[in-house]
């Protein structure tokens, strides 16, 4: 479980995060949603420690990251897997080397054990016969899947995904969502996903945190989102005519 308490973050005097508190539970897919520029990525990067927060607390299973020394932070980071918006695979390494990288760096596994784990991770994300290709030689969807395989290589306790569906077609997006959801429950990890993909919100949103202009505006799950009276959230979620229509049908079904 990850708990954040009263987080504040500013850049050059501009407040980006204002008093955000939330609990992200283990074994659930926790979504952070909001418009572009609302502070989602800053929040995610603050939680993983890429940005230092100005004020507040971040607790990973009760461990306060702000009072950890360098070594403790380093150990905690080995429990974290992260999938970046564009995969962030290392260009100079092949698919296989990318997934093996954390194992090479932090474990004393034998080559045989590493290969077994590598094959398991690649099978899990359904990557076949691409081990020796470089990131530039594979598709966007495959890159995301390889990034997920790399993120789970060390059996992480926490998985962070920054807009895992951006730039993907709807079919691949659904596959990536389903994969993240499966991995979360299969390995019982705490997953936090940054997204503005409404399909993800509906399909995998166990717990949804909506932020607007750096502030928490709403928290709930995917079924509660249809009945909310929060104006900002409604404006965001039901922005397109398609989603408005979808809500009407859903509400009619519920009334019946």
């Amino acid at each position: 479980m990850i708990e954040i308490k009263n987080i504040y973050k500013s850049f050059e005097g501009r407040d980006v995060l204002k008093d955000i508190s939330a609990v992200f539970e283990k074994g659930k897919t926790n979504l952070i949603i909001g418009q572009s520029g609302s502070g989602k990525t800053v929040l995610l990067k603050s939680v993983v420690g890429l940005f230092d927060i100005d004020k507040g607390e971040i607790l990973f299973d009760g461990r306060d990251t702000l009072i950890m020394d360098f070594q403790e932070q380093k150990l905690l980071r080995q429990e974290i897997g992260m999938v970046f918006q564009n995969g962030a695979l290392f260009d100079s390494l092949t698919v296989e080397e990318n997934v093996r990288f954390p194992m090479d760096m932090f474990t004393t596994m034998t080559m045989k054990e590493k290969v077994m784990r590598l094959n398991f991770c690649l099978d899990r994300v359904n990557i076949k016969e691409s081990n020796h290709l470089y990131p530039s030689e594979i598709s966007g969807g495959m890159r995301k899947r390889v990034a997920i395989a790399r993120a789970i290589a060390l059996n992480p306790k926490y998985l962070f995904c920054d807009e895992p569906n951006s730039g993907l077609d709807p079919v691949t997006s659904i596959l990536i969502d389903a994969l993240i959801k499966e991995i979360t429950s299969e390995f019982d990890i705490t997953t936090i996903i940054n997204t503005h993909d409404m399909n993800s919100v509906m399909e995998i949103g166990d717990n949804i945190l909506f932020i607007s202009e750096g502030q928490k505006c709403w928290e709930g799950n995917s079924s509660q989102i249809f009945n909310t009276r929060n104006k900002k959230l409604n404006a965001f979620v039901f922005a397109s005519p398609f989603s408005k229509k979808f809500r009407e049908i859903k509400q009619m079904e519920d009334d019946e």
Binding site: L50, L75, R77, F84, N86, A88, D91, M105, F160
Partner: protein, 246 residues
């Protein structure tokens, strides 16, 4: 004040770079790759430029220095000392600042903007050390070898053009390059190449590592890296010459 910010930031980065590596075996593998990429792959261009420069220096000496009062072996001697003292150490380093420096800055800059460096940090890898330390060691290690190759190729260049000019014979040229040899000149230049090697790798690494923005900023960082490294090489050339020749 901006310059002090950059100097401070540069030294803080160097502190991170020289922290104990996570796993020596991986760093050694990286080091070998960097020696090949940054050093071995530069041998060709170093050799070509040195042959031409050696030839040109010899021709300039032939046309400008030779008169009945001067022995003609001075051409070989002049070419040798010019190569050892300045060309193969300083001018070659300026050339490497362009080739190697822009390569390092653009590689790290691209890794920064595509979040590859962030992804290493999240794994718990000291990205500064993993990415920059092997480059610095590789360039510092290979620089003296490139210097020696450059001097040799420059002398060969002179050996080709000198006798062709008709002013100096092969025997006189060879006498020139073996006359009044001062071994300290070589030590002095190797010290310079070590310092320049450190600058060639570390300054562009600093410029690339802290890039913010997109492809345009990576290009700018690469250009700035070459310009700043070149200025620093010339500055340290001045300082080292003053210190070591005193």
């Amino acid at each position: 004040m901006n310059i002090f910010y950059h100097i401070g930031q540069y030294f803080l980065l160097m502190v991170r770079v020289f922290k104990k590596p996570e796993k020596n075996s991986i760093y050694i593998r990286q080091l070998i790759l960097e020696i090949e990429k940054l050093g071995i792959n530069s041998i060709g261009i170093v050799a070509v430029i040195s042959v031409f420069m050696g030839g040109i220096i010899t021709l300039q000496l032939t046309y400008n220095m030779v008169n009945p009062l001067m022995p003609s072996y001075i051409i070989g001697l002049g070419n040798r000392d010019t190569l050892i003292l300045e060309f193969s150490s300083t001018v070659l380093s300026l050339m490497l600042a362009g080739k190697v420096g822009s390569n390092i800055a653009s590689e790290l800059g691209s890794m920064r903007i595509t979040e590859q460096i962030d992804s290493m940090e999240i794994m718990g890898v000291n990205s500064a050390s993993y990415l920059i330390l092997p480059k610095i060691i590789a360039v510092v290690f290979i620089s003296p070898f490139l210097f020696i190759i450059s001097v040799f190729c420059g002398l060969v260049g002179g050996l080709i053009t000198g006798p062709l000019s008709g002013v100096v014979t092969i025997a006189t040229y060879l006498t020139g390059i073996t006359t009044l040899f001062v071994p300290f000149y070589v030590s002095f230049s190797i010290i310079k190449t070590l310092v320049f090697g450190f600058l060639i790798a570390s300054v562009p690494a600093y410029m690339g590592y802290f890039v913010q923005g997109g492809a345009l900023e990576v290009g700018r960082a690469s250009t700035k890296a070459v310009v700043n490294t070149s200025i620093l090489i010339l500055f340290f050339d001045l300082v080292l010459t003053q210190l070591l020749f005193k």
